[in-house]
Symmetry: C2
Subunit: 591 residues, 2 copies
């Protein structure tokens, strides 16, 4: 990971925000190459989700919205992390991360390196040495345990009880003043005792309006999805779409993470790419099509069908998203798929699958694809008091074909299949009657991806330090980013072999200008050609073109008008005609 962070800074991918002023915790800036990488990822997502489809439109909403939206969505009341305050230093720590933050301290690392469980039972001197105290060389991140004698007493009591004592037990016992209350992770900042966990809302607050008041408290959106629900009706009314259809949005979101960490993975300001894909409730599908197609492993998901229910649509989007990741260089082999269990699922969710990537710091989520029922639109209908139902002529016509008996059967069957046991038959009946009139609140499948996470996954996956042998037989390390050409910040670099030969320079500049109309190119004339290749390898440029004496015809007409095309991954060089360049390169850039 350190190597990636270092490369990111050195080659203009990612800098710490406000580094000039010592940084600002949880914020990261993208330099010239990072900005292009992000742009390319945004574009590929947007094209895959909107332009290349008939059934998805875009939205670009504000970061700050009416606070009622966050009341309706549940964020005001429940978007919390459990947080503990340290009784000694008063710092706050996210309860579920306290231990892993502590493990990242230098103190813990040096303790773990020397700690020997076998010797703890007999060696008081050693035990006492491990207890951090003021000035202790190996505890630079940890203040002293206030009462080392008492801490030692607890350790000794624990040892004499015969329970095994590993480094983790040791550290927890150190920090626990009352062993009867159970062990606790000590404060990772000072080693003190952490208090009980309390909920802490993760939304960043501000006030819009000249004077701060309760009335104009606003939140920086913690996700882009809610704007899609809030504008659902406007989009529906102004876009000539019919369910099933989706609304896609890319934009910044903010979470006041208690402990931002893992480079850009968990930061306070980040960018999301979210799609809300609205579908008919299964009951409406059944009315229209007679039945709902069940999902079966290996079924054809290439073309949406009218008889798909939420389960098949959910699988469809998993396939679409997996295809997308493959198209930008993250094949299924480097991904992992985690199906949330019933216990993991939010109460309104029917199924959620997380797409994971093996980051250097662990296997973590890139995207979640959730079947959310009609929870969000229903909440907004309730809180706004405005109907968010849509009318479907086809559904009404289908229901009109049913006789009294069939309707009653449908109601009874729907009731038997109800998701919540507390739903009354009257509620089911009202819901079905509404369907018979052609009215319903659409359900939704939500593929929600993090752009910064994706960029970091792309960087991690592309990074390689490769042993290569140079022309003189010397072995050296080549640092290379194996970006898919579609997302590489620079698609092609163009070099004149020598910068002091005007005819080479002129031709290289001409080719640069030619390619520039079609793709991001970089012209470079300084340094040995091998060094120029290496520089491009480090920023992941898939192709380099070199203009040499053959190109300008100085070695005869045979190779005139051809250049050397060097491929980043294989380092192979081929000779191609200048007029074929655009076509050859474009073939690699097409989706």
């Amino acid at each position: 990971m350190e190597k990636i962070v270092s490369l990111c800074k050195r080659r203009g991918f990612i800098y710490q925000s406000s580094e000039l002023y010592g940084g600002w915790n949880g914020f990261w800036d993208y330099g010239p190459n990072g900005a292009e990488l992000k742009r390319n990822l945004r574009d590929t997502w947007w094209h895959a989700m909107t332009r290349f489809r008939d059934d998805v439109v875009g939205l670009d909403a504000t970061i700050i919205m009416h606070p009622s939206i966050w009341k309706a969505s549940g964020h005001v009341d429940t978007f919390n992390d459990p947080m503990c305050a340290c009784k000694s230093c008063n710092k706050l720590v996210r309860a579920d991360q306290a231990w892993s933050v502590l493990e990242e301290t230098r103190w813990f690392a040096s303790l773990a390196a020397t700690f020997d469980p076998a010797s703890t039972s007999c060696n008081e001197e050693k035990l006492r040495k491990w207890i951090p105290r003021d000035g202790s060389q190996h505890a630079p991140n940890l203040a002293l345990i206030r009462d080392p004698d008492a801490a030692f007493g607890r350790i000794a009591a624990r040892i004499s009880s015969g329970a095994p004592l590993d480094v983790r037990d040791f550290v927890q016992t150190l920090a626990t003043s009352d062993p009867a209350s159970g062990w606790r992770t000590p404060c990772p900042h000072c080693g003190g005792e952490l208090g009980d966990a309390k909920p802490f809302n993760l939304m960043l607050k501000t006030n819009t309006g000249p004077i701060a008041s309760e009335e104009n408290v606003s939140y920086l959106r913690p996700e882009t999805a809610q704007a899609i629900f809030a504008q659902f009706k406007n989009v529906f009314d102004s876009s000539r779409v019919r369910v099933p259809f989706g609304i896609a949005q890319i934009g910044k979101a903010f979470r006041n993470e208690i402990t931002p960490r893992n480079f850009t993975f968990r930061s306070r300001e980040f960018e999301q790419m979210e799609l809300e894909f609205f579908i008919l409730p299964d009951e409406a599908v059944e009315l229209i099509c007679g039945s709902v197609l069940p999902f079966t492993e290996g079924m054809d998901l290439s073309e949406p069908k009218p008889n798909w229910g939420w389960e098949v649509w959910h699988r469809y989007w998993l396939k679409e998203r997996t295809d997308y990741y493959r198209s930008i260089g993250l094949p299924t082999e480097v991904l992992d798929f985690y199906w949330q269990s019933e216990a993991d699922l939010a109460h309104y969710a029917r199924a959620t699958v997380d797409i994971l990537f093996q980051f250097p710091f662990g296997c973590e989520e890139l995207e979640g694809i959730a079947a959310r029922g009609n929870f969000d639109l229903s909440q907004h209908q309730t809180h706004s008091g405005k109907p968010l139902e849509i009318f479907d002529e086809e559904l009404k016509a289908a229901a009109a074909n049913l006789d009294e008996k069939q309707r009653e059967d449908f109601i009874q069957k729907t009731h038997a299949n109800r998701r919540k046991p507390e739903t009354t038959i009257e509620e089911t009946r009202a819901y079905c009657e509404s369907l018979f009139q052609g009215c319903y609140i659409p359900h939704v499948i939500e593929p929600s991806a993090g752009l910064d996470r994706l960029a970091l996954a792309i960087l991690s996956n592309a990074f390689e330090e490769e042993k290569v042998t140079d022309a003189k037989g010397k072995e050296e390390t080549r640092t290379v980013l194996h970006f898919h050409p579609r997302i590489a910040p620079v698609k092609c670099a163009v070099f004149p072999l020598l910068k002091n030969r005007p005819e080479l320079v002129a031709e290289a500049k001409r080719i640069t200008a030619l390619l520039r109309r079609h793709m991001a190119v970089y012209y470079d004339e300084s340094g040995a050609i091998g060094r120029r290749y290496r520089r491009q390898d480090e920023i992941g440029t898939p192709f380099c073109v070199t203009v040499d004496f053959d190109t300008v015809g100085e070695n005869g007409p045979e190779n005139q008008g051809t250049v050397t095309l060097r491929h980043r991954d294989s380092m192979e060089q081929t000779r191609v005609r200048v007029e074929d360049l655009i076509q050859i390169l474009s073939a690699h850039l097409a989706p």
Copy 2:
């Protein structure tokens, strides 16, 4: 303007943010067509500013940065608007906008419509009728003047003084309790008296970190430019650039406008497109080139030259930006250029030219191009305590050629030309000695544009209600957006002539898929063909393709494989071969 606002909502360009909950003042969302329009504008700007140039790189920094950045930039201390509190209703009004906000009220409009200066001198009854009071039908936006008798007394006194009384005088006199203190604009919310103007900081504040404290107060950036200055050194060190070069950024910014207005023109959340173009100080240019090229009207600005000083660079960027606006359909004829006078200029600015557009609500700024000297980098150097000077080998070498006498002459000349009279000869000497060593803080030219303003200008400029005569000779109104094809949300719509003819539908869908790899297309099969054209006119689609019986060869081989290409602006229809479509359309989309 109302027509544009209405079209924007109806056709999915712009909605009020959080409309479902009554809106949130100063925030606007972009619907499907608006999101595409903005994307296209962003892309054209980014391509013009970075991809098509050798000397500009991108940056994508966070919205929230270290607060010291805003201290250094001056925003914490001086980014204020003058604000008045109403003594009656306590609402706050921006002092310099109070009058124009009042003029937009229905009350004022109806008063102005009936007000007759000639009759005010004699007609007490009429005068009293114009004074708004509780329940007054024509004063729905204005509460009553608390003491109508006193207000009438003031009016009467003013009339008897013989001074002319127009509607504006009348309204001001109404609201002024003490005429000796001078007239004042009444509160546009209630007609009450406004207090003295006080400075009000326009930055939105938040807290990053688990508990709000002075230490973690942060601001939502009020401009994107400062991140460029703060990351100048990182970009310089990681990007192999040399001065002159630029750093470009597009992103959201926030200002807590007291009275957001004019649709999206002045909103609280908006998007900026800013370039900071770093150049050598004129003294360095002189050392290297022997002299600085003066600006002359009509000089060649097509290719930057080493002997350009700030003045020519400033003109160059004005030309570049004007060319850009032309390339997206805003030719010089619809723009205006305002050169700020010495009195307008910020103290550090050397020149600023504003590019204006005639909006329906007045001629307002689209972009400002400022020559800012080295103010920003100097401020950050001072506040961060870290050097932001760069070293230029060529400059050092040039200075090394000067003898003692020439150096002294250079120092004296520089001192004679100093911008600030208070600069001491010692300061000038130190500055020059630093230059002789090849070191300097770059100066900057800043073309800074507003994306939302640009989108609104593009919409306003494109909007037309045109009288046309239909096939039956009936005159009707055609609403059309004459977008430049490069920025139109949809480039081409594809229609089968009839939706119940499978061979037409299949061919239209095939063409849609074909075009979709290259541009944004829209497939539509419903309604009469004329209505489909009109729908595309309303969203500014420059081209429509219709698949008819000729296309599929039903009228013989002559026109087989051709389609009707309909041009939005001329409404002309031409027959073209399907295989030529991509080339014909792409020619209109190239920059």
